[in-house]
Point group: D3
């Protein structure tokens, strides 16, 4: 079960509200590379861990819990970037330069649906979706999903870093980028522990897979190309279980030979 | 630009139609772990490669093109698993055991919307979405997304393998599992080439990130826990740029201190 | 910021795994009436509260935090309802009666994508979406959204209660139904505190609204109907600011009189 | 069944086209707080009413029908806010100041997909979804959903009112705000009639719910907090069936104790 | 504006409730080929018609209004197919054969979210979406969208017809199929009136389009194929403005030659 | 199976990067009228064709393959419209006028998620969805879906043509508009071959449909209107199988007469 206290995990200050940056920050909240995704992803991964691996469960759940606090930080940052002028300084909402810029270039729903606060949507305005969450039940696959999530998340954070001059926002992003560095590393460390580069899932008996096509790069170029002699066409494969080769042609399995569908479908292909 | 020929990439045969398996195969077509995702993901990644890296562009695009052929194979497999009895053998669609089972336990839209053929949806019936596609512009992040996609994809294929006895379907899956083995390995090989385990993005000056929290595992347990001394709390970090440590407490950044919103939002928190 | 400990908030036991019930439980996790929705809804509402109302912020955030623990309980319940027979008791996944029933009538993705665990989707298999979250910035509107969420949530829980005989599941639902009773009551208590039945938002000057149509029930029946003399056509309105009346006709505002669109849109209505 | 006539329900005039306002109005058409939602919500609620309650069916359906007319009004308002200059006054679409501003800050699809007309999307551009519609079969739950819909809808309309100076748009919004006032009141009146504040669903035997946790506010604060003595921690609960209390601790139900998943899932947690 | 009266547009009777058919009927309510789509599509098309074409506006709006009544009929049909046995005939919901079959093979949300009534979702359980609605502003394009909608709608209705033996359901579908016949024909009649087969949009000056590739079938076969001499490779084109030809090769426009992205994107393609 | 070569299908040049145009082009990639839709639509239609109609399969698949090349062209165009100034010409991303305009008015995800490249989303930022794909199994219905897709696609392309002055973009669009002209014509030619205007599906025995309402325009006007004597109320119907008539009244089928739902649903309509 979960607990909360009143503090943010790290300080969130905004010197100059910037409604465009409020729009961009949404990507880090409700976007494919955002904190809602990782919080829920690590949580659902933890939910699937059997009792005898409670160390793994804690590993995942402690980081899930940390990410919940990042959503809170970013939502606070959005609100602070949308703070309008005081009432004396303007006559109406439309005359507030922050609000005006917001309605022009921002995400209208931050104002219309949320009263100038954060939303569970991305920077294009598309809602967060459970589709972003990867929790496969297979720990290695999950770890790769996590490395990917933290890699794209850190790329996002560094791009955001380039789009602000606000010292408070810079501080916050330097912290979040640091945490992404750690999280990338911790999932890698878990992968090393599992035996990196093994084929996922490792427990599937590899003798059952087709032995002709499991370590060969297959060219689909229209005109046959010579082996480009790249790290993926020659040498030992990273999983240590095969030798790369190069196949200039796709095997070909005959034309699809579907029967006509039963009449009651009214398919009438002619 | 693209080309096509009449053959499937690999043979697709079904001895005994099985409408439940037709439902399950949808996951490998339009699901988060499916072939539409990887085909489009590798394609959009290739679209972003600058001219001077055309070797990388080809690497991505050739595999994207291969995956298009896998969609074709799987769609053929769905149709063959839904082939009903001949008209003599039944009086109406409802009396066809395949169709009856299909309507009971399957995806009704395979019949109602597609006339007993494949759909761009997953095994739960949810439509394919562009949200599944990761093409970040950063090659290392993309490679991790690809390793993840092939890992979850191979897990899916091995699970499907357990749910069929049909020799034709077994053959097809043995081929697809082999290709997933290769694809996992080829993306790993590319990562090795880039310098594996570097923090993504590597070009962000790490001195800019917060130096206190970038290599420390942060516990969020309610009751303070001792360092569990796991590979992610001690030793050198996989990126080779830091030493892991353990932080039993979140830093804490003060309570969020939002101002009241401008009146024109009618927020009325009290 | 958030914390976690190892215990569930309340005991979750399953005597007899039931994969159909695992399917139904998804509605309480990732559905419109589910725990992901309320956890995130109360959280985003709390994120928008200004500093001077920290009592309200805590009120919302403490309950958000509780709901996170309910997701954890329900995900545990799903996993336990999908536990297959031991390996000795079957020859393959298909021969396990739990798994067989699961693949026939359940949500295939619980197996195919999550390895027999919970997913962030609803009982129809549709993914959780940020669209479910209501956090308007206006506390009264939010409280009504919360009463609604807990009312539909409790209706869902009571319906689930009718579809299981398992004593462990009954216990868990009796607990969750009790919490829904409390949560309905606590949001009502907050509404009473705000001044129940006031028009939301109350700070909009009601003299600005159209005075002819603000307290009249408008019939849209094709054939004019007499006043049905119901509580919404006569007597004082619940907000205490007007008297109900009955309008048998819609006012009518003339036909829409759009100009032709500029040529460059190629609209060609004729 | 339904009927239509040529008139709008209320006059819709626009003095000065304003493409930014056309963007904002989309929220009131296809957004979570919009008219498509309430029209369909009340309609689906009405569809579920048994014959003997035809008075309730009419109540819901008459208002559903009214809301259809509001979609029509708002779509007309969008078109009028996007009316470009006459052909003489410009040389190309790009030189029309309305169109230029539209393409810069608006919703491109209003131009590209709809030829400068309304779309069934919200102000962020996300499509309307059936997920917004709440029709639970339980009338009290539905009434709370309706109060919520009209409360957030009226908040939206008052915010829109602040973002326009156009007298025609002001008139239209004054009318719509008035109707929202009435609709809030009429659903409240129905709730009073049902017996307000009863726990929903009232027919579930409350003795079946857990008696220890059904009227107690549960704190999830990390550090134990004293009872804040607020209206939701003491006194009679609004449903009149219990007395509020305060629980400083979550009960705790032991750690989740999942078994390992069957091998055929290839879960490999280690 | 709209009106309603108490009657259904056409009789809806169900002799034997059939929960599987209730599942299938959802496709005709909230699916891509369903009545919500056509009702809203014709409505949004009508909303865009300028005043001087009010005959067209009425044509579209009258049919939109009819389709609203079809949603009502189908929702009634769903409810009647889910009517459970009387209380005397069973001990609990689970023992009602209708309800049991419903929970096994149906859409759980019809029970869990709607209390055994219709939902705005399709037969796979995916929510209705505004994405289905086509209202382009161009009347000819809209008419083709309408012919398509009625064609796929009638295919759906005939398939549903094959999956029921209930005489009430047969009657209802015979009526709906008849209306689809009419609607297909009426949109065709409008197209004939506009000048069928003209290129849409007809007002775009065809001399501006590339004259080399506007009437030639372009083969993308990997191995060059001879002209198949089909109706689309020779003879006059249906629009009467060009002569079909056959191009065995795609033109080819050089490799894409993207520059490297600015550093601040951290793209690191190498 | 598919193949690729390095060239674009047609030249893509951009003289002056224009980030607003990059936003608009997304509609032609991932929008309802875009190239992802047609590529996948024709592909899924081809997947359903039985072996004996391989000519039809090729017809569909060759055009599907061509459309894949159009996605590639448009993605290249997006990247080129987002090319920033060289590093010497600016001090930071924010000072690059292209990037600044991009972040202000564009789609932030093109920068934040894709590093200034194309995304599988539409111009409003909503993700591509499998819902756009129509592949019904019935060839005539599919052909109408294709005519519609190419008609709305060509309308989109002509609108885009009005929003750019760039000669490279004009060239590209002139090519794409020409291809849309051809594709509209080719699907029409296929329809002529099938027997145009026949009711879809033609194989459903029309004697089974209701004979009273299958060729009559049904008015739903509130006040009875006289026959407007339009092409859809009189004369022979386009399918050649009936004579149009005019019905001023909807038939009326009695009020819906639902029973009360079983108690276990807790519906409590009163």
């Amino acid at each position: 079960m979960f607990y909360h206290d009143d503090e943010l995990q790290f300080e969130v200050e905004v010197e100059e509200p910037d409604p465009r940056f409020a729009k961009l920050l949404q990507q880090a909240i409700g976007g494919a590379e955002g904190e809602m995704r990782v919080a829920l992803q690590y949580m659902f991964q933890a939910f699937a861990v059997p009792a005898e691996k409670d160390e793994i469960r804690r590993f995942l759940m402690e980081t899930a819990t940390e990410e919940l606090g990042h959503i809170e930080m970013l939502a606070t940052a959005v609100s602070k970037n949308l703070e309008g002028a005081s009432e004396e300084a303007r006559e109406s909402a439309r005359e507030d330069p922050i609000i005006d810029e917001m309605m022009r270039t921002g995400q209208p729903r931050q104002a219309l649906s949320a009263g100038l606060h954060a939303m569970p949507v991305d920077s294009n305005g598309a809602p967060f979706t459970g589709n972003y969450v990867v929790a496969s039940g297979n720990l290695a696959a999950d770890m790769y999903a996590n490395v990917m999530a933290e890699s794209t998340g850190r790329v996002l954070a560094t791009r955001l870093y380039e789009f602000t001059d606000d010292p408070g926002m810079k501080d916050m992003l330097e912290y979040l980028i640091a945490r992404d560095t750690m999280h990338q590393n911790q999932w890698h460390a878990a992968l090393e522990d599992l035996g990196e580069h093994r084929p996922v899932p490792a427990s599937f008996d590899q003798e059952q897979e087709n032995q002709e096509y499991n370590y060969s790069f297959m060219s689909t170029a229209r005109e046959e190309r010579a082996d480009p002699k790249r790290p993926w066409t020659q040498g030992e494969a990273p999983d240590g279980k095969g030798e790369f080769s190069y196949t200039p042609q796709q095997p070909g399995g005959g034309a699809p030979d579907l029967k006509e569908t039963i009449d009651e479908m009214y398919n009438e292909v002619q």
